[in-house]
C-alpha cells in the first residue's frame, strides 16, 4: 500500500477540517463546539494508543490532561516566561511523571492497572482541589494569559479553531504513523498476547512504558492548549467522570482504530449539543453505551460499519 493511500483518510479529514473552518467560521458548531471536538480527538486518539493498540486500560487519563492544563497555566504565571515554554514544561513534567509511575504500574495487569490509574486520577483530582494557593482549589483559576504565535495573538474562537485543528491533525498523523512503524507493530503484538510478543523478542514492558508516556504527553499538551483557550480552569473538568467519557469515546468508535477514536470523540461531543435533555441522562447514556458496545459490538461502531462496507 502506498503511503498516500494509507493516509487518504487523514487527508480527507484535514481537508474537511480546513473547509469547515474557512466557510463556516461564524457557525457555533464550528468555532465553539469544533474546538472542543479537537481537544477530545487529541485525547481519545492518545488514549486509544494505550487502550486499543497495546491493550492496557487507563481510567485516569483526565488526570494527565488536567496536570498539563494546570502546569501550563501556573508556570508562565509564576516565572514570567513564554506560555509555550509553560506548555512544553508541562509536557516534560507529565512525561516524567508518567514514566516514573509507569514502571511499577505497567508491571500490573488488567484489573490492577485499571485500579492503579483510577487511583492516580483520584489523587490528582484531590490535589487540584486541595492546593488552593496554587490552583485556586474548587473555585478554579482564572485570568490565564493569551497565547501568542510570535506576535500574533490567538484571541478569537476561529483562530483557536485552526490552532486546535492543527494540533489535533498532528496527533492523528503521528498516531497513524506510529502504529504502522516497528514500534507500532510491537505494541499490537503486546495487545495480542504479551507472552507471544515476548517470545518474538519484543521488550513488552519497555513497549508499554513508551506508549503510556507518549499517550500521557499528548494529553498534557492538549491540556496546555485547553488552559489558554478556556482562560479559566476548574478541577471539575478533570474528574473521574471525564476519564470515563474518554474511555467511552474510544469504546464507541472502536478500540484499535485511530479513525474509530476520532469518530467516537466527534459523536460524543456533538450528542449533548443536539439532545437538550442530555445532561440529566448523561450518566445513563454513557453507561449504556459502554455496556451495549462491549456486549454486542466489541470492535466499536466505526470499525463494525467500516468492515460491513468493505466486505460488500
Amino acid at each position: 500500500m502506498s503511503s498516500i493511500k494509507k493516509l487518504s483518510g487523514f487527508y480527507i479529514l484535514s481537508l474537511l477540517g480546513i473547509l469547515l473552518g474557512v466557510f463556516f467560521a461564524d457557525n457555533y458548531f464550528v468555532s465553539v463546539v469544533g474546538v472542543i471536538v479537537g481537544f477530545h480527538i487529541i485525547l481519545a486518539v492518545s488514549l486509544n494508543l494505550l487502550m486499543g493498540y497495546s491493550g492496557q486500560i487507563s481510567l485516569g487519563h483526565a488526570a494527565f490532561f488536567g496536570l498539563g492544563a494546570y502546569i501550563s497555566a501556573i508556570v508562565p504565571d509564576k516565572f514570567n516566561i513564554n506560555p509555550w515554554i509553560g506548555i512544553l514544561t508541562a509536557m516534560i513534567i507529565v512525561g516524567l511523571l508518567a514514566y516514573i509511575i509507569s514502571k511499577p504500574i505497567l508491571k500490573l495487569k488488567g484489573h490492577y492497572l485499571a485500579m492503579a490509574t483510577l487511583g492516580f486520577g483520584v489523587i490528582v483530582y484531590i490535589f487540584l482541589v486541595q492546593t488552593v494557593s496554587l490552583t485556586g482549589g474548587p473555585d478554579g483559576m482564572g485570568d490565564i494569559a493569551t497565547l501568542y504565535i510570535g506576535s500574533y495573538a490567538i484571541d478569537s474562537d476561529v483562530k483557536w479553531y485552526f490552532v486546535v485543528l492543527f494540533f489535533a491533525l498532528l496527533v492523528v498523523w503521528l498516531s497513524l504513523n506510529l502504529i504502522n512503524s516497528r514500534a507500532g507493530r510491537a505494541m499490537r503484538a503486546v495487545a495480542g498476547s504479551e507472552y507471544a510478543a515476548e517470545m518474538m523478542g519484543v521488550d513488552t514492558s519497555q513497549t508499554k512504558t513508551k506508549v503510556f508516556v507518549i499517550s500521557a504527553v499528548f494529553c498534557a499538551g492538549a491540556g496546555g492548549l485547553f488552559a489558554f483557550q478556556q482562560g479559566f480552569l476548574s478541577p471539575d473538568s478533570f474528574s473521574f467522570f471525564f476519564s470515563i467519557e474518554l474511555v467511552t469515546m474510544v469504546v464507541l468508535g472502536g478500540m484499535a482504530s485511530t479513525y474509530g477514536a476520532i469518530f467516537g470523540a466527534i459523536i460524543l461531543t456533538l450528542l449533548p449539543e443536539f439532545l437538550v435533555v442530555f445532561e440529566d441522562y448523561e450518566m445513563l447514556i454513557f453507561g449504556g453505551i459502554l455496556i451495549f458496545m462491549m456486549i454486542f459490538m466489541p470492535k466499536g461502531l466505526f470499525v463494525t460499519l467500516a468492515d460491513k462496507i468493505n466486505s460488500k
Binding site: G55, H111, A114, L118, G119, V122, I244, I291, I295
Partner: protein, 291 residues
C-alpha cells in the same frame, strides 16, 4: 494522645468494617467469575439511599432494611443476567469496561430517582455516645462492627459448611470440573452476584446513619472496597476483611495526624505502594500464570 489515638482507631475500625464488607463482595464475585465488579460501590449507595427513602415513606426500620436489601440483590442478579452473562468470554479489559458501564448506569438511574440531594438517617438505637477509656463510641459504631463480625463469620461458614457455599467454592476452583460434578455453574454465578449485592446493600444500610449518602457516594466506597480486596490479596475473602480494617485504620490515622482534606489521597497512595511492592496482597500468594 493515647485517647486521641484510641478515638482514631475506633473510627478506623468502624469505617474499615464497611470497607471490609464491600471488599468481601468484590472477592466473592472475583472468585466465582474472574470479574472485578466495579459497580460494587453502587450496591452500597443504592442500599443506603433506598433504606432512607423507605423510612421517609413510613416503613418501619426493619422492613425498610429488608426491602432495600431485596432491591439491591435484584439489581445484583440482573447485573449478572443482562451484562455479565451475555458477554461470556470477554477479555479482562472488556469486562472492566462493562462493569464500569454498569456502575455509571446505576449512578445515572439513582440521579434520576433521588436527585443530587444528600440523604441521612437516624442511628438504629439512639445517638447517646458511650465513654470508653476517654474515647467516645456511638451506638451505631457498635452496630456496624458487630454486624460486620457476624456477617463475615456467616459468609465464611456459608462457604465451608453449606452445600451451596461449597458448590460456589468448587466453581471458583474449576468451572469445568464443577460442571462435571453436577453443579449448576450458571446458578452459582448468579447466586454469587446476589450475595455480593446483598452484602453491599447491608454495608450501605449500616453506614448511612453515620455519614450522608448521595447518588455519587458509590465511587469512593467501591474504590476503597476494591483497595481492601487487593490489599488483603484478591480472591481471599478473609484477606479482603483484613485489608478493609487495615485501610480504615490507616486512613483514619492519616486524616487525624496529617490532613483530613487528603484523607482519600492517603488511602490511594497506600494502595499504590502496596500494588507496587506486593501486588499479590497481604495474604495472597504469588503464583505463576500458565500461558
Amino acid at each position: 494522645m493515647t485517647e486521641q489515638l484510641l478515638q482514631f482507631l475506633i473510627t478506623g475500625i468502624t469505617v474499615g468494617s464497611i470497607y471490609a464488607l464491600v471488599g468481601l463482595g468484590f472477592a466473592i464475585i472475583y472468585n466465582s467469575s474472574d470479574v472485578i465488579n466495579f459497580s460494587q460501590g453502587e450496591f452500597v449507595m443504592i442500599g443506603a439511599i433506598s433504606v432512607v427513602s423507605f423510612i421517609s415513606l413510613g416503613v418501619p426500620l426493619i422492613f425498610a432494611i429488608i426491602l432495600s436489601i431485596i432491591i439491591t440483590t435484584a439489581i445484583g442478579f440482573s447485573l449478572y443476567q443482562f451484562a455479565i452473562k451475555p458477554a461470556r468470554g470477554a477479555t479482562v479489559v472488556a469486562s472492566i469496561i462493562i462493569t464500569i458501564g454498569v456502575s455509571i448506569f446505576l449512578r445515572g438511574i439513582a440521579l434520576l430517582i433521588w436527585g443530587k440531594d444528600f440523604y441521612a438517617m437516624e442511628p438504629f438505637s439512639g445517638a447517646e455516645p458511650l465513654r470508653f477509656y476517654g474515647a467516645t463510641i456511638l451506638p451505631q459504631n457498635i452496630w456496624i462492627i458487630a454486624t460486620t463480625i457476624l456477617l463475615v463469620i456467616g459468609v465464611l461458614l456459608f462457604f465451608k459448611k453449606t452445600i451451596y457455599g461449597k458448590a460456589m467454592v468448587a466453581c471458583s476452583c474449576d468451572k469445568k470440573a464443577a460442571l462435571l460434578m453436577g453443579i449448576n455453574v450458571k446458578k452459582m454465578l448468579l447466586l454469587s452476584y446476589g450475595l455480593s449485592a446483598s452484602l453491599g446493600a447491608l454495608a450501605g444500610v449500616l453506614i448511612v446513619p453515620i455519614t450522608f449518602a448521595s447518588y455519587d457516594a458509590g465511587i469512593m466506597l467501591g474504590l476503597k472496597g476494591f483497595s481492601s480486596a487487593i490489599l488483603g490479596g484478591i480472591g481471599n475473602p478473609l484477606g479482603a476483611v483484613l485489608g478493609g480494617l487495615v485501610l480504615g485504620i490507616l486512613e483514619s490515622l492519616g486524616a487525624g495526624f496529617i490532613s483530613s482534606g487528603y484523607k482519600d489521597a492517603i488511602a490511594f497512595i497506600i494502595i499504590l505502594l502496596v500494588l507496587f511492592v506486593r501486588p499479590q496482597g497481604l495474604l495472597g500468594q504469588s503464583h505463576t500464570q500458565r500461558v
